[in-house]
């Protein structure tokens, strides 16, 4: 099913995207900057947006798709209402970051990089959030959970996701 983000001249979000392209003179090298604006405006990159950007910047759709999927920052699916980011930097890892991640995956029944079916929660993994002395760290939306234990995080996630265990 195609999500409806019809390219309309009145929608401010599309005007923002056009403004980014205009600032760069609709040059092909504006692709990444434009995709950043699309993601800021819509929260993710859908097929319609990719086609639109490809047409406007006169880049083959295959290259636009190649760039969009190469970079981890770009989301190709709608994101959940809440975000949980588990840090797996070196300091967090050696202090049990992966056990924190496992606990959240189990509690929310979702894998890292995915969103729960009810769109309540997106679970992400960070390479390092630079809060190493609080390790292991998890971010719930923008709130920092320091020296996180698997039990704490599981409880926190439980508050966001109402589960019908199947």
């Amino acid at each position: 099913m195609q999500t409806s983000t019809l390219v309309s001249a009145e929608d401010k979000r599309w005007r923002l995207i056009r403004a980014t392209m205009r600032r760069h003179g609709f040059a092909a090298n504006a692709l990444i900057e434009t995709l950043h604006t699309v993601q800021e405006a819509f929260g993710y990159l859908d097929e319609e947006a990719l086609r639109y950007v490809a047409k406007e910047l006169r880049i083959p759709l295959s290259r636009v798709y190649g760039v969009a999927t190469f970079y981890n920052h770009f989301a190709m699916k709608p994101q959940g209402e809440h975000h949980c980011v588990v840090c797996l930097g070196t300091a967090c890892y050696i202090r049990g970051g992966s056990r924190v991640l496992e606990a959240i995956e189990k509690a929310a029944q979702v894998k890292a990089g995915e969103t729960t079916p009810d769109k309540k929660l997106s679970l992400l993994v960070a390479r390092c959030v630079g809060l190493c002395w609080l390790a292991p760290v998890a971010l719930f939306d923008d709130e920092v959970a320091s020296e996180a234990t698997p039990e704490e995080v599981a409880q926190k996630v439980g508050e966001w996701v109402d589960h019908v265990s199947s």
Binding site: I32, G89, C128, G130, C132, V144
Partner: protein, 549 residues
Amino acid sequence: MYLPEDELQRIDEEERLLKGQYKHHIHVCLGANCLNAHSAQVLSALETEAKARGLEKVCSVTGGGCRGLCVAGPTVTLEPDNVLYGKVQPNDAGDIIASLGGEPVERLNRPTDNPFFMRQQRIVREMEGRLNPERIEDYIAAGGYKSLLKALNEMTPAEVINEITRSGLRGRGGAGYPTGLKWKTVAKARGEHKYVICNGDEGDPGAFMDRSVMDDFPHRLLEGIIIGAYAVGADRGYLYVRAEYPLSVKRLQLAIRQAQKQNLLGNNIAGTAFNFDLQVRVGAGAYVCGEETALIASIEGKRGQPRPRPPYPAESGLWGYPTLINNVETFANIGAIIRNGSAWYASIGTEKSKGTKVFALTGTVSHSGLIEVPMGTTLREIIFDIGGGIPDGRKFKAAQTGGPGGGCIPEQYLDLSVDFESLASVGSMMGSGGLVIMDDRTCMVNVAKYFLEFCKSESCGKCIPCRVGTAHMFDILDKITKGEATLDDLTLLEELCDTVKHTSLCGLGQSAPNPVLSTLRFFRDEYIAHIVDHVCPAGVCEFEKEAVR
């Protein structure tokens, strides 16, 4: 008649007058780490409290930079009393304001006469905690942009390059290439345009030195970049910042606008014929973009995949034009070298590694945070004097330097001097400055597996040794940590290390085997214990199957 040096002088004097009105200066750290600990709320609570007591004309409350002691965040610095408060909460504001001019608030007070502060030497982080990063006036009043005017008005580009060459400065991104030599190559290259790129794609886990330079000293970075552009004859430049650092992006963009307004960027800079346009480009979450040719591809709007060198970017870089690429910390050193002279800079550090290095000291160490020490300082001094040693009475096991491509240095090398050559001699590398301390609860096989997982995921997929090799190495390490590997697997792992190291296209693949090689060199018994005895000496790995004896 307008004279740029008079303009800087005027701003300097105005600042002194403005600052002179206040008896007390309160600087609240608004670095990324303290902001995470709600330092913005602390700042507004202090402002409210100062107003409530009618002291807003006596004490100024500003967002200062960071003091490096991240573990104590949010931190607040009082001047002129030189008092440092740590773990400050908004409801401490009343006590802090009430104590001004008297005894410091005991429960918040953090002594600054200890090795953490006394043993550091600051060039890149000079004036730390005392500059508001969002005001160009603060930087100018601290002598900022004078080096740029000196370079433009009193030195030829060749003289600037000679000065940098004589200083002995080497690239701080990790490889340690002589900066002066790189600048000379770009200056000599022919091109209709030349570009300068500042590599702010700091991706190593446990490394946040460059973020702090961009967040806390954006103008020091700009000044270095502009001097670099003048020296090599570049007219355009990009600051490539990773997407994970939105605060850096915001502050750099603000700094660029401020510098343009003061005619320190743009056309006819400071009344000379030199034009230089600088823009920020935001990365999109690809570790490999820290590699210079991949970074260039990313600025061109393409997938961030490296290409073979030569040609080096110095000859053919962005859009085929000669391009100077340096790391953030490298550029942040330039202003001080021009101001104080190459002889001064060359007097700091060791014979081959000059100046200072900023490290992000993390892991199991008491004083986590950002430190800047002269090259040649020993690991022992860094970890046990400055870092305050290993907490909880645990025992030191290894220091990991150089990020995912670096190595683990064991106890017997604690007296090793930290410089480019010494670190390489024990199978590690300087890298960009991440320094992760590990205690005896750490399994070194598991650490190697962690870094291989990182490299496997971040491999761009262009060359086979890296794409397939790192995945295969990870699989073997995974088997070892599960007690499913044989000694033949270990032999195969060592062969793969050799192949991946010597045949990969770029630095990511070439250095990916280092964590394995260095842990094998110093902790081989741990590998054997996993494989033969099905035991994890550190008690980290869990085995499903019992050892067959």
